[in-house]
Amino acid sequence: MTITETPTQETGHGSHRLTTAKAMVEAIELEMERDPSVFYLGEDVGPYGGIFSSTAGLQERFGKDRVIDTPISESAFIGLAIGAAVEGMRPIAELMFADFMGVCLDQIYNHMAKIHFESGGNVKVPMVLTTAVGGGYSDGAQHSQCLWGTFAHLPGMKVVVPSNPYDAKGLMISAIRDDNPVVYMFHKGVMGLPWMVKNPRATGDVPDGPYSVPIGEAAVVREGSDATVVTLSLSVHHALDAAESLAGQGIDAEVIDLRSLVPLDRETILRSVSKTGRLVVVDEDYQSFGLSGEVSATITDVDPSMLRSPVARVCNPDTPVPYAHALEYAVLPRQDRIEAAIHRVVRA
């Protein structure tokens, strides 16, 4: 039994305020203390503390053998993590940006994700692949993608995407303890970094001590009766902003934070849409062949008559993320596009 099958447990009684980045680090720290087989490796994860602060202070605490700066050799060090996991360790390997998956994809989808299957269940790969996703700050087409749909499309790895500090810590603990490979994708815009636009929800209360958020359970982050907005990651914040703004106009939107793509919590989606009859899917990843189609099919596979209006999708329109600010904002699913989509499904 893996931790994901156990209910959420909170051992501490108090809580403290953390950014998402610090919540991630706290989870890793707790697990490294608890389990000597956990180690972290990646580019600039040592003294730098991770380009997106995903490992701040960890090398000082655990030394260079457990928090390892690697050469820029993603195939080699992600493959190394796979081998170590096969031998019973619990590595966390960081791919600095999800956009770089191309240089090491074979290790990820042919090895990390398939070994358990190919071995007929005899070999486990209990590792975590962490990676930063998302745009919004003009970093251009090779540094701004989400690509979680690609990881989720390829079978054999769980894919989690926290949107806030509480989930970031709980999902990280679940991911480390999971006996499967888990891809843990964090959006730069929810990390609470001092050098990015400040998102107020990027800081929040986090329980002391270890606790887990089960992988595969979506959260209803706002209850509503008129339309269901299904989304994840930074888009949760935009969707909540849109819902708050529409509340003033008498439209009551429910917002679901998926928290993981694999497994996908279809139950929660179905339950909500059976109540509201309307669905908007918001996805910062490319629209075609991705999450939005999958979530829509979740409804139509079961009972299309649940829908009172056609599904609206607010996604990246299959365009590489442009550099220029105005162009980038035109392709990103932001509050205005989400609001318009909710209007559309409610009025239809």
Partner: protein
């Protein structure tokens, strides 16, 4: 442009005009980056918000590495190809990329090289066969293809591919060296060893003290030179001559210096030698040398700087005066 063989491996006796041209290229590149630095930071406050301002996003500047670009590109014409890295400006300038359009691209304008779609890590100027990539070492394989095309056409043109010493630990680097040597492609592989891959020092990333020794693994001539523009010029002369003569690829590593952070906003707390870094600036050093040897005087220096300043300010003005792209066209150019 000299393409003859030399018995003196260290340097060539350069004429004053060539030396002045090398100096000018370096000054123009530095002046440009100082201006970008100024514009980049101008409106990121309060604090530092990377997504704000006229030039948002990551910014990797190459101050200190100008001798590499100047020394190598002095042997190239616009018919030769250069694939640069995520730190591309010095190579772009030395290779003759249109400065106005490049600046406009960095400012995300419709008049930019990529109509504002690419940004500073993705500069493409087909008129001089220039490109660069944000995914490190991934510019090496396309350079092979350019070299292959040049070889097929029998033109004596060459492709120059640039990486950092950190990127030289990527598979694409090694696969490219092997293939180029195997097929005797006219490529010059340039490694800019500035000692650091973001925060990771060379000795923590690379199993050999010098990438030049890796040439042996691929049966390829290789050399390592210091950050001296004339030594680089001489080494590049040999490498380019070999490529043009159909003698295959060369690996040229320059031990250079990154004067500023990996990207703007990098406090460089990981860098113990930080206090000494300004003294490693190659431009004042070369200036002094040329002054001592009577090639430069105060007047020439002042004029060179003024010309560079004027050229750069013109490019910045061009960028600022250019229209931003229409958001309605955000999905243009995905297909031709």
């Amino acid at each position: 442009m000299s393409t003859t063989a030399h018995d003196t491996p260290q340097s060539l006796a350069l004429d004053p005009a060539t030396r002045l041209a090398l100096y000018r290229t370096m000054v123009l590149a530095r002046t440009f980056e100082e201006a970008v630095l100024r514009e980049y930071h101008a409106d990121k406050g309060p604090g530092f918000d990377i997504g704000k301002g006229l030039v948002p996003g990551e910014m990797h500047l190459a101050a200190g590495q100008e001798p590499v670009a100047a020394g190598v590109c002095a042997h190239l014409t616009g018919d030769d190809a250069v694939t640069a890295t995520h730190r591309p400006h010095h190579f772009a300038i030395a290779h003759g990329v249109d400065l106005d359009k490049m600046t406009a691209e960095i400012f995300g304008r419709e008049t930019g090289l990529g109509r504002g779609r690419g940004g500073h890590m993705h500069l493409f100027d087909p008129t001089v066969h220039f490109s660069c990539s944000g995914i490190i070492a991934e510019g090496y394989p396309p350079a092979l293809g350019q070299a292959y095309a040049f070889k097929q056409k029998g033109t004596g043109r060459v492709a120059v591919a640039v990486t950092g010493e950190g990127a030289a630990n990527q598979g694409a680097f090694h696969e490219s060296l092997n293939l180029a040597a195997l097929w005797q492609l006219p490529v010059v592989f340039v490694v800019e060893d500035n000692d650091w891959a973001i925060s990771v020092p060379r000795d923590a990333s690379t199993s050999v003290p010098s990438n030049a020794s890796r040439g042996a693994a691929y049966n390829m001539p290789a050399e390592r030179v210091e950050n001296d523009v004339e030594a680089i010029y001489a080494a590049a002369d040999r490498a380019v001559a070999r490529a043009r003569a159909g003698q295959g690829p060369t690996l040229l590593e320059v031990h250079t210096v990154r004067l500023w952070g990996h990207f703007e906003g990098d406090a460089q707390g990981y860098r113990p030698e930080l206090a000494d870094v300004p003294s490693m600036d190659p431009i004042p050093r070369y200036e002094q040398r040329l002054r001592d040897e009577g090639v430069l005087d105060d007047a020439v220096i002042a004029r060179t700087r003024q010309e560079a300043q004027a050229r750069v300010e013109q490019a910045i003005a061009f960028a600022k005066d250019s229209p931003v792209p229409d958001p309605a066209t955000a999905s243009s150019y995905v297909f031709s």
